[in-house]
């Protein structure tokens, strides 16, 4: 035997003990003394790794110790577990607060989306052929049919499911795409916001032309405000992400982005929360046979509540509460 092999033979039981502590039951079930044993074992494993490197142990020993100390590090320095109360705080306090701190991004996103929407609406109204240049004719026919038919006589369940499914999947994907493509210097967010604004404006204009505006309003009034706000907020988060990448203050763009990621996460989680509410409203309420007056009143009250929440939620927070 020699010193190098003696070292491995002598330390091996300690490594196996640490490995057993790490791979056995969850850390929460370990007793106090086992926990201190774990921490001690971790420090020893780090020492042993350095020693193994310097005495020229073979790759198998060095790699084994790298893996072992890496896993012990992760187990000991894990982030705080997510709690339900923290989720409530994020959604009801930090999200509106983050939104108000980033008002300029929200306004920019709103302009980028609403501008093309108004343009699409006006163009469809003035030029009957405009809609067919933006949307495929098949979709236009489908839209016209379903809204002219209205909700007075309940649609077949399959049709209902198909429409609702199409909208929810489509709209949530749109919102998250508006956010995610902001990584390309914000260009993707601006593009998708503008494009979807144009599609929405054109759709409303076209349905209004075929004389089914009241049905469209009745359907969209429920989830529309929630969904559009959510899309704009997601787009605003994307634009913010792009602006951080462009103007990173002399540091690496991704480093700067990591600093901002907690705040951006608040915005996106808030948008996701609103989208989930919108999906629930859409599934349970929008296609129901309630009267249009009822739906519009509910929409108005709901929008006021949303506005109040976004303006007042978390108004006692100061600074950057997520750090």
């Amino acid at each position: 035997m020699n010193a190098r092999d003696d070292f491995v033979t002598e330390r091996r039981p300690a490594w196996e003990r640490l490995n057993a502590l790490l791979t056995g039951v969850s850390l929460r079930k370990l007793s106090g003394s086992e926990l201190s044993e774990l921490c001690e074992g971790y420090r020893q494993a780090c020492n042993d790794l350095e020693r193994a490197r310097s005495v020229g142990c073979t790759a198998d020993v060095v790699e084994y110790l790298e893996d072992l100390s890496g896993r012990a590090y992760q187990a000991i320095y894990r982030p705080k577990p997510a709690k339900l109360r923290a989720a409530g705080r994020i959604l009801f306090l930090e999200f509106p607060f983050a939104l108000r701190s980033n008002l300029r991004f929200f306004l920019a996103a709103a302009v980028v989306m609403v501008g093309p929407a108004v343009a699409g609406l006006a163009a469809t109204w003035l030029d009957p052929t405009f809609a067919s240049r933006v949307l495929p004719p098949g979709l236009l026919d489908l839209l016209a049919n379903s809204y002219v038919q209205g909700f007075d006589e309940p649609r077949a369940a399959t049709e209902d499911a198909a429409m609702a499914g199409f909208y929810v999947r489509n709209n949530t994907s749109i919102a998250f795409r508006c956010f995610a493509t902001g990584i390309f210097a914000g260009i993707g967010s601006v593009f998708f916001l503008a494009y979807n604004g144009l599609v929405i404006g054109t759709t409303v204009g076209y349905v209004a032309r075929v004389g089914a505006l009241h049905n469209l309003l009745a359907f969209m009034s429920g989830h529309g405000p929630l969904e559009l706000t959510a899309v704009i907020i997601a787009g605003a988060a994307g634009i913010k992400m792009g602006s951080v990448i462009i103007d990173s203050g002399g540091r690496s763009p991704f480093h700067q982005l990591r600093e901002q990621s907690a705040e951006i996460t608040r915005l996106v989680l808030g948008a996701a929360f609103l989208l989930l509410l919108a999906a629930l409203v859409e599934g349970f309420w929008s296609a129901s046979d309630a009267k249009i007056e009822t739906k519009l009143t509910a929409s108005f009250v709901g929008s006021l509540a949303l506005l109040g929440f976004l303006l007042l939620g978390g108004r006692n927070l100061r600074g950057a509460p997520w750090t």
């Binding site: 190098r4 020229g56 896993r71 320095y77 997510a82 599934g283």
Partner: protein, 225 residues
């Protein structure tokens, strides 16, 4: 490759969960498309939404950077400095799947991964994470040479003859491999490197594998003193 397989498993798990929700909603009346009322459809859509966007975040938060598919294939998401994944980073990382997905089928994500050293997609770049392979490694038992090297053999080597660092590792790997080889093949392989080492140390040998084993033993012994 592992990540592709892990993704396939996760996709299957999500599909199965959704089917389970659908089944429980219809109360077993295996109804695809018809028979779903408005409220049931609403609940199904909300679950589809939650599964599509929340599955990875929920898994990675609850299972320390692993999803079910990642666990199957021994993968874990960690920060590049080794820290465990946090909740907010998991959110951004997974929402940016929408950017990686562009223009379709994660094409951009694959491109970015292929260009980066540790196969990181855009979502990984944004929050500074990387996906690692966790392998259970084993420490090999100390090398035993048969018959054991005698002190007489050791003393026949010149005083300065000593392997270091990568030479030592390479010779040790060879000696471990050689134990399962036919003797002629063992000599054939050892003859590739033995003349070079003999010339370097000014040593002579008769049997190349035995020479390497003696050199190895001497180097370890002197490393100790």
């Amino acid at each position: 490759m592992r990540r592709l397989l892990a993704y396939a498993v996760d996709l299957a798990v999500r599909a199965a969960l959704l089917a389970l929700v659908a089944l429980s909603l219809t109360g077993g009346r295996a109804a695809m498309g018809d028979g779903l009322e408005g409220t049931q459809m609403g609940a199904l859509l909300a679950s589809a939404f939650a599964l599509e966007w929340g599955y990875f975040v929920a898994c990675e938060t609850a299972m320390q950077g692993q999803s079910i598919g990642k666990r199957c294939f021994g993968l874990r998401v960690v920060h590049t400095d080794g820290r465990a994944l946090t909740f907010s980073d998991s959110v951004v990382r997974n929402l940016l799947r929408a950017a990686d997905f562009l223009p379709t089928g994660y094409a951009l994500g694959f491109l970015v991964m292929a260009r980066s050293q540790h196969f990181r997609r855009i979502g990984d770049w944004a929050v500074g994470t990387t996906v690692i392979v966790e392998r259970q490694r084993r420490v090999r038992a100390p090398l035993q040479v048969h018959p054991p090297i005698t002190p007489a053999e050791l003393s026949r080597l010149p005083a300065g003859a000593r392997l270091s660092g990568s030479e030592l590792s390479a010779v040790e790997d060879f000696l471990r491999q050689a134990q399962g080889l036919p003797p002629t093949r063992e000599i054939e392989l050892a003859e590739i490197v033995a003349p070079l080492l003999a010339a370097k140390f000014g040593a002579h040998y008769e049997h190349a594998p035995r020479f390497l084993a003696t050199l190895h033993a001497k180097s370890l012994q002197e490393g100790a003193s």
